[in-house]
């Protein structure tokens, strides 16, 4: 416990006490940060839980960008994105149109026929 300071007197700084105050303030700041981090973690887990619980059957329960296969290579450009997490399929994008319009060709070495 510290003694009352007299008016007009030059404050006398006790180095030991100042260090202690500084230490206590640091500890308090650390506690605040820890509390904030803990709260953020709980909030993130709660949001993730709500998101997962709302995922519908037939949909992926994670949202990826382009997906990768076993070898880790990116899915070829133009391949569709994974299923959206919204219901009804309404939010999913349609098959993508080509970047060009097919033109008549004058030789035909490769044939696309209906076996698929």
């Amino acid at each position: 416990m510290s003694a009352p300071r007299r008016a007009g007197a030059t404050p006398r700084i006790d180095p030991t006490r100042a260090a202690r105050l500084q230490r206590d303030a640091g500890i308090e700041r650390g506690r605040s940060i820890s509390k904030g981090a803990a709260f953020a973690s709980v909030a993130a887990v709660a949001v993730a839980g709500v998101y997962l619980s709302q995922s519908l059957p037939g949909h992926s329960t994670s949202s990826h960008g382009t997906t990768s296969g076993a070898a880790g290579a990116a899915t070829p450009a133009g391949s569709p994105a994974p299923a959206a997490s919204s219901g009804g399929g309404g939010a999913a994008s349609a098959p993508s149109a080509p970047a060009y319009t097919p033109a008549p060709a004058y030789q035909a070495p490769v044939v696309s026929s209906g076996s698929s």
């Binding site: 290579a73 133009g78 391949s79 149109a97 060709a105 209906g114 698929s116």
Partner: protein
């Protein structure tokens, strides 16, 4: 427009390898003939990987194993199956369920439970009663945990999209590793990467392997797919059936189209659209046009309809075979 004059095979200038697999015609064309063997090997590797995961006809495939555990809760699966299932579920979502990966059991009930080469001569049995397939929404995929849950009795058939995905993937791999232009064709599903100037010329035919394709187009990038009911059909007892199943009935779809060919940004997108068009029937033209997907639809009487900028067929040499 006049009929194209056949020119010396384009593959002479490039390099090509043709083979048969999955009871269909497999082709890879590369712009540098020196790398065609390596390209063919890379394609084989890709097909091996997809077959090990997605074949309905192999007891040791992941799809078969998944079917054996259907109804028992989440089953661990490989990253490749996760990807293939994501692609299949996306196809189902964007087609309103017209392209559904849960038709496997329905196909088996129709006798298509082994490689098509063993089915094409006909199988014993009777047409089963109509019953909707389990439906793509019943598939629970957890991509993060890499697990899949299926309702009891469900067998996945990823054929509609897995083959096209393999074409996209193989084309990207070959172009990326070998630094060449490439076209991969897996039985009607084509993928193009780094095409040469002018693109690849592709004939479009109703019959698989028909050298006298009635029309040909230039493919610059992305994919092209032809789906039809004229190639994979067989007799179930005395009843003619085919492999495109209507998810609503579990029976072969009654469609006004013999074949549908679609150009899209990828082979997967093209296959998704061409298969959906068969199932959608009379509404297919509008559906394709709304999505700006160039397409060629052939009715059972041979009448041709083109959509979204697909070029008209060359005029026939003789009269007949009118357009709708």
């Amino acid at each position: 427009m006049s009929r194209a004059t056949p020119v010396t095979d384009q593959v002479v200038r490039f390099g090509a390898h043709r083979t048969t697999r999955w009871s269909t015609r497999i082709e890879v064309v590369v712009t540098d003939p020196a790398v065609v063997v390596t390209a063919s090997r890379l394609l084989d590797d890709e097909l091996d990987r997809v077959e090990a995961v997605a074949s309905r006809f192999r007891d040791d495939s992941e799809v078969s194993r998944l079917s054996r555990h259907a109804g028992t809760g989440p089953v661990d699966v490989s990253p490749t199956l996760v990807t293939l299932l994501e692609v299949a579920l996306h196809a189902a979502a964007v087609t309103g369920g017209a392209v559904d990966p849960t038709v496997g059991t329905a196909l088996c009930r129709l006798g298509y439970d082994r490689d098509f080469a063993a089915v094409s001569a006909g199988v014993a049995g009777v047409l089963p009663p109509a019953a909707p397939v389990p439906g793509w929404r019943s598939v629970v995929l957890d991509a993060e945990a890499r697990t899949v849950s299926l309702p009891a009795g469900t067998l996945l058939d990823l054929g509609a999209t897995a083959k096209a995905w393999a074409a996209d993937r193989a084309a990207a791999t070959i172009a990326g590793r070998l630094g060449v232009g490439v076209l991969v064709s897996l039985g009607g599903d084509l993928a193009v990467e780094s095409a040469p100037d002018g693109g690849f010329s592709v004939g479009v035919a109703d019959i698989c392997g028909d050298p006298d394709a009635p029309t040909a187009v230039t493919i610059v990038s992305g994919g092209l797919a032809t789906s039809g009911i004229g190639n994979r059909h067989w007799l179930l007892g005395a009843i003619p059936v085919h492999h495109v199943v209507d998810p609503a009935s579990g029976l072969p779809v009654a469609t006004p189209w013999r074949t549908v060919t679609v150009a899209a940004a990828s082979s997967v997108d093209a296959n998704t659209a061409s298969t959906a068009a068969l199932v959608l029937g009379d509404s297919a033209q509008a559906w394709l046009a709304e999505r700006n997907l160039p397409a060629r639809l052939v009715a059972h009487d041979g009448a041709v309809v083109t959509v979204a900028g697909w070029p008209d067929d060359p005029a026939p040499a003789t009269s007949g075979g009118g357009r709708r």
